[in-house]
Subunit: 229 residues, 2 copies
DNA sequence: CGCGAGCTTGACGTTGTTCAACTAGAGTGG
DNA sequence: CCACTCTAGTTGAACAACGTCAAGCTCGCG
């Protein structure tokens, strides 16, 4: 570790805004019950059904959160840096309710689940913030459910492109780290269908998909496709 | 009102178990910021996008929670008595994130949202219980998402029948208060397809659907259909 | 140069929707 | 009490959307 200062939650620059509610004493408490881990691409961060010993905070990278179902998976959402994973395991049974896998090299802070829970019970404002995090996720999942059940293939592809552009990378141009297989899993369609939809989007000049970058050329049309399914 | 005692949260027999965490003083506090309302069948309880002035607690009845999307709706879940509605509006913007409509005559307690929130900040154990309620919902929604995106029509119908039998009515025999239209909306398919699936389930002796009662005759087969899609 | 993974393309099959016709039962008015 | 209407439900046939299968392409890599 190049940094002379032992990293901790007090001085951390990438900590969640939820932690702003904590006193220095509380930050020190949680800092002592925290470890940092990095994962390579395609590594499993947590496994559906396994014990949940910690809450995970994604500092850097990109992960998919998914349910395992027979040979197919259902991707619940993608998560960019700055999000907690495993919050669903706090309340009931300390079992992971989903699996997570990295889409690229990613680093995490892991917090002992009991310490995290204790902090929530001690500090109501912190609890409220965490509540808000979970809440944001649930509202996003509602929306995703709408996309997957009510929209046709074009709308679904448009929605995921918008998600990557607006929520994950916050730019109209972003790297395509996902393979066609990944992307088809997220949009819940076959790779072949995805390929055909991409072709149409390219032909109509709505997106550029050359090499390893995606460029959204016509945001309005993409929105329109998203709306009109 | 036949009851001589003014109804309050302290003596209420159908209050949420979350309220067991509250002191008498806190119960009195929330009781004063509470009203009771009853709705007839098909009445709208809350409207997606509108201000959320209260948290709703379903004492008796049955409601559908759904997102509005163009001319079609996406039903997020059904809720039986004993559940809170509107918890998603606590954290962020005090806007209802979904609409709710009764499926039959239903009665609610409505709690002022700010009072509810204050209670959560004052009493961490109560907050934890409410957190748990939201959490249970999110996990259930994940599962529903799996059903709707990964299973074929037979599996989806089987899942909803199981939901009604196991979670809502807790019996293998229950009244069919839903119309075919309602049911098709829940299972996300056309009424015609639903009709055909019902016919097959009847023909195979798995369920009985005569008149206004549903009787599940072969639970194992229903589970199997649910699993094998 | 050959190999293989990831991607694309076309032909065809499956699933479920749509449209239209028909049926049964409930409610209404004469 | 009966004819009439209306709605909910059922059934069949045509059709659309998407998946599957198979073949071919492209590009990086040994």
């Amino acid at each position: 570790m190049a940094n002379l200062l032992k990293p901790d939650c007090i001085n951390c620059l990438c900590k969640s805004s939820c932690f702003h509610e904590l006193s220095d004493e509380e930050l020190e408490f949680i800092s002592k019950r925290r470890v940092e881990v990095t994962y390579k691409n395609k590594e499993t961060i947590c496994k559906q059904g396994a014990f949940a010993p910690h809450i995970m905070y994604l500092k850097e990278g990109l992960v998919k959160v998914y349910l395992e179902h027979q040979d197919r998976n259902l991707i619940l959402c993608l998560e960019p840096p700055g999000t907690f994973l495993g919050l669903e395991s706090l309340a009931q049974d300390k079992i992971f309710h989903y699996s997570c896998v990295t889409y690229k090299h990613s680093s995490f802070c892991l917090f002992e689940i009991d310490a995290f829970k204790e902090l929530m019970e001690r500090n109501a404002k912190f609890a409220t913030r965490i509540y808000g995090e979970l809440n944001e996720r649930i509202v996003r999942v509602y929306d995703r459910m709408l996309t997957l059940t009510q929209k046709q293939v074009h709308g679904r592809v448009a929605d995921i492109l918008r998600c990557l552009s607006e929520r994950i990378y916050k730019s109209n141009e972003f790297p395509m780290t996902l393979t066609r297989k990944d992307f088809s899993e997220i949009t819940v369609m076959s790779v072949e269908t995805l390929s055909r939809v991409f072709k149409e989007l390219k032909d109509e000049g709505i997106v550029e998909l050359e090499g390893k970058t995606v460029r959204i050329l016509d945001v309005d049309k993409l929105h329109q496709i998203s709306r009109t399914s």
